[in-house]
């Protein structure tokens, strides 16, 4: 299995408070990794470090052949990349946010083709055709002309997924994609994510949906206090956790 995402010894502080204290991660091509853990454990921060929305205090993130945000120079020096090059890297990392962050002044279709047209400079016609395909794939083939305010939460999140996919990302990051949704809308988003996983997309999913993690994840990681305490196949980690903090977290969420 080829590795697509590799994180080594990630440290992150906010105003002196250590939020990530040495996270290591290896995700291979087509793998689905679910990250669970108590609130404040640093799950969101980890995702944001992976796509360089946050800068690291130590460690390195490598995605499909390049170090994110830096280039390796002689003598083991990492040199900051200029913003233009960082943007080229970021656009290959799809991200889906808890609160969707759709562009409210654009229709669903315009949201999806914004990146392909303005960033990748694809011809508008081709981008539109592909955008419609993507919207159809997330079950919204007929809602392309709707503004976000006219869509339900579940529909918004599916548009957000289509928007991220439109950039042909090497990996998709999901930060609690269903946490802001009404319970009856969670299923439709998880279904789309299931299909995505089945199609071989590499995914890192921060979620509180244990059932989804158990069914879909190849591996589950439990994050507590800024480190990954336990990582492995869901059958092992969820059923038979070793670490006491992980065990107490799981008993709380499983019951």
């Amino acid at each position: 299995m080829t590795t697509v995402v590799k994180a080594i010894n990630i440290h992150k502080n906010f105003n002196g408070q250590a939020v990530l204290t040495g996270v290591d991660l290896d995700v291979s091509d087509g793998e689905v990794l679910c990250i669970l853990g108590p609130s404040g454990g640093g799950k969101s921060t980890l995702l944001r470090c992976l796509n360089h929305l946050e800068t690291l205090d130590d460690g390195v993130v490598w995605i499909d052949g390049s170090i994110i945000g830096y280039e390796l120079r002689d003598g083991g020096v990492l040199r900051e990349l200029p913003p233009r090059k960082v943007r080229r890297q970021q656009r290959e990392i799809g991200m889906v946010f808890q609160h969707f962050n759709l562009f409210p002044h654009m229709t669903a279709l315009q949201n999806v083709i914004e990146g392909p047209v303005k960033v990748r400079r694809e011809p508008r016609a081709a981008a539109t055709a592909r955008g419609k395909e993507l919207l159809a794939a997330v079950g919204l083939g007929d809602r392309g002309g709707a503004y976000p305010s006219q869509l339900s939460g579940g529909q918004k999140q599916r548009v957000a997924i289509a928007r991220a996919l439109a950039m042909n990302p090497k990996v998709m990051l999901f930060d609690e994609p269903t946490s802001a949704l009404d319970p009856e809308l969670v299923g439709e988003v998880l279904d789309v994510m299931r299909k995505l996983a089945a199609s071989g997309t590499t995914m890192i999913v921060v979620t509180h949906e244990i059932a989804f993690a158990r069914d879909v994840a190849d591996r589950v990681a439990i994050m507590v206090d800024g480190t990954i305490r336990e990582i492995g196949p869901p059958s092992e980690v969820l059923a038979n956790p070793q670490d006491p903090r992980v065990r107490s977290f799981l008993t709380r969420v499983l019951n």
């Binding site: 929305l53 970021q90 656009r91 962050n101 229709t107 914004e114 303005k118 976000p148 006219q150 991220a164």
Partner: protein, 313 residues
């Protein structure tokens, strides 16, 4: 707790509700009728007072379309329009600079606002008009050289004075608009690889428009009126033209009324333009923000007022 319900509402036993459907009688608004009648009477009295007063209405009528006045009004429109363009452009530029990561850029923008918002427009106009006293010639070495008085005509001075001053106010308006856009928008733009400029131009600014159009409309209306200050630097906008006429013929009030009519007409057009711009930038937003002002409800119609947004879907 239940017994504390508002005492004056008519209490009714649950068994009094015999029907499944009731005819509803809407609340009447007698106050609206009364105040409406009062306003109409007052207006009529006012009109009569002016009609009987010592005003030569034929002079008003004659000068309403006199060429001097029309040319003055055209100048007023011209200077207001271009000063607004300059103001909006500078305002956007300096607002972005104020929010920059670069402390030097931030300081420059702060300095601009501090100076031009902190001094009277009239004073700024006078300084631009008299700038030739400080710099008698304008020189771009090897390329261009001219006497300042030839370049900075009253029109140019008025344009610079009004536009740059407006820009300082606009900076604050646009900055407030940018700050009000959720940070998640910037992050979403980043994750699809948009540049800072693209993010600003395609994502942030269109969303601020909805917020900055009302104050901008305010400014545009203000500008139409403030442009009359340019009369102080002998730019012949409408008020200046009117003064020149009444110095000769003595019909002071008549000519001022002529100006009032044109100013009102101009600001009315601006109001209408603003209404449509607001509606355009309100697209995608659920609540219809602006309502036309003259659609009174006297409690007669059964239907609720139509929402502006229903037309969109």
């Amino acid at each position: 707790m239940l017994s504390q319900a508002a005492p004056e509402t008519n209490r009714v036993g649950a068994d009094a509700l015999q029907q499944r459907s009731y005819k509803i009688v809407r609340l009447k608004h007698p106050g609206r009728w009364l105040s409406g009648v009062a306003v109409v009477i007052l207006l009529a009295l006012l009109v009569k007072a002016f009609a009987d007063g010592k005003i030569q209405w034929d002079v008003v009528g004659k000068f309403l379309t006199a060429e001097v006045i029309l040319r003055g009004f055209a100048n007023t429109l011209l200077i207001s329009f271009f000063a607004m363009i300059i103001g909006a452009g500078l305002g956007t530029l300096f607002a972005v600079m104020r929010l920059s990561q670069n402390p030097v850029t931030r300081f420059v923008a702060w300095l601009y606002v501090w100076i031009f918002r902190g001094t009277p427009v009239l004073l700024q106009l006078l300084i631009w008009f008299n700038i030739a006293l400080v710099f008698p010639t304008i020189t771009i070495p090897g390329l261009y050289e001219a006497r300042t008085v030839d370049v900075v005509t009253p029109f140019v001075a008025a344009l610079l004075g009004l536009g740059i001053n407006e820009g300082a106010y606009m900076t604050e308006v646009v900055r407030g608009g940018i700050n009000s856009v959720d940070h998640g928008q910037t992050e979403a733009a980043k994750t699809i690889g948009m540049s800072r400029f693209q993010t600003l131009w395609r994502i942030i600014l269109p969303q601020t428009m909805r917020l900055i159009i009302p104050p901008m409309g305010n400014s545009a209306i203000g500008m139409l009126k403030f442009s009359s200050l340019a009369t102080a630097i002998s730019f012949t906008e409408m008020l200046n033209a009117a003064q020149q006429v009444y110095f000769v013929n003595g019909a002071v009030i008549e000519l001022l009324l002529v100006c009032a009519v044109w100013y009102l007409l101009g600001t009315t057009v601006l109001n209408i333009v603003q209404f449509y711009i607001e509606r355009y930038y309100g697209r995608g937003v659920a609540r219809g923000a602006s309502r036309p002002p003259f659609r009174f409800s006297f409690g007669l119609s059964r239907t609720a007022p139509r929402q502006a947004n229903e037309e969109q879907s």
